[in-house]
Symmetry: C2
Subunit: 258 residues, 2 copies
Amino acid sequence: MSNAGEGGNGGVQSVDRALTILEVLARVGEAGVTDIAAELGVHKSTAFRLVTTLESHRLVEQTADRGKYRLGVGVLRLAGATTARLDLVQEARPVCRQLAAGTGETVNLAVLSESSALYLDQVAGSSALQPHNWVGQHIPLHATSNGKVLLSGLDDAALDEVLGGLSRYTAMTITRKSQLREEIKLVREQGYAVAVDELEVGLTAVAAPIHNAHGDVIASMSVSGPTFRLPAERVEEVLPMLVEAAVEVSHRLGWGHR
Amino acid sequence: MSNAGEGGNGGVQSVDRALTILEVLARVGEAGVTDIAAELGVHKSTAFRLVTTLESHRLVEQTADRGKYRLGVGVLRLAGATTARLDLVQEARPVCRQLAAGTGETVNLAVLSESSALYLDQVAGSSALQPHNWVGQHIPLHATSNGKVLLSGLDDAALDEVLGGLSRYTAMTITRKSQLREEIKLVREQGYAVAVDELEVGLTAVAAPIHNAHGDVIASMSVSGPTFRLPAERVEEVLPMLVEAAVEVSHRLGWGHR
DNA sequence: GGAACAAGTTGCGGATGACGCAACAGGGTG
DNA sequence: CACCCTGTTGCGTCATCCGCAACTTGTTCC
């Protein structure tokens, strides 16, 4: 036993610790051996050896000799291989690109991951206003169009499990569970979701579901931009293009082929 | 004995093995426990436990219950955190974007990694012809403009170490070491590199170095496109824009601020 | 239909390999 | 110069991980 106890880790202790180091670095950006050791609750030397092993695979690198550690390029190599293999990203990319060109706005692709939305890919619109790159970021589910679409793919039991406290971000954020359930029901019926100023004032986004061969909602595709460029009438124009694009990707993934 | 021997691994055996699994999966895309065990030269159960630990951190996922394993979304999460922290990508992105808009061709950002060029970022040009996404890929150093620029930042000793056999890709590929040294010398003098049909017939690229605060060449920025769109006279037009962009990024990274 | 096979998964005991300790090596700062 | 803070390394012990072998489950082939 011994290691079987603590919250949700796997089998091999040292590997688990090493991977936790990666997560810590992802969270804090940079950390020294001592900080890491404290975070893991192990001895400095232990942390050092783990970090060294990670370093030999280029997953972390030290900023200077005897310096702190941060995530390394090896992570990017792996990520390149991951997206190359994830048929979702593979199939969706050309469609996203075309949609971005057609609308002039930014297109994002997101999946459900650990009670939040994980952005897998992003294609910038033609506009000069370049938004933050969200790829790899966790985003709240209840305050984004992508999040609402992803939630709409869950059944009620799963919904309960995923929804914790609904944080307020703006005056428009939906914070009552009952209201959110209504909204999700609406999303299911319409086949798309809209979020205006709910995560950030001045940010508007619309999203539509992507289905796999079994019909499950496996991802969400969104078009987003500043609210002044996406007023209600513009949203009306964008929606059909978005929904069509999402359907196209779903088809490529085998949806509707019986 | 045992672990100290084999090529270039770090200290902690089980972690080293686990990370090797990630690399194997990056290479082959999908693999079962048995395949992985064979690749590492360990017992099935060992491989299984390592994979399970990786899975608990979402770095790998199984395609189906009792199915094969592949890289998971956790890798993308880490990658998101990595690029967010790598000030190179951060600083270079807007410049790349502007350069892509100005030239209409694809802009890439590459660094040296383990005897090859690693592409960190890519901004597509306006043209419909969308090239392959190279992000996260390894590219030979001697047959690309980016590679030549990166080589130009090394001293002779490091050059010797990095250069193995010079594979031929096309009739234009430089395969003699002496010729490559001449070329690299030229790149140093000119401050940029050109590669026409050297990696692939019909592919032209030009690249310029990005320096850090110490003046080292830490990355390379390139403009590339089909040779028919980038004949010699067009390359002449593009070059100043490229060099200026590379200098701009270098400045942002502290180069030339004393 | 069931037998043989091959995949992933799990319990167990033994020895190997990872851990904590403590000492070392540099760099700042007072 | 002494102190304190880093990251780094040798060593002995004991916990941990590994290999074995048995189990489970799904597929193939009579």
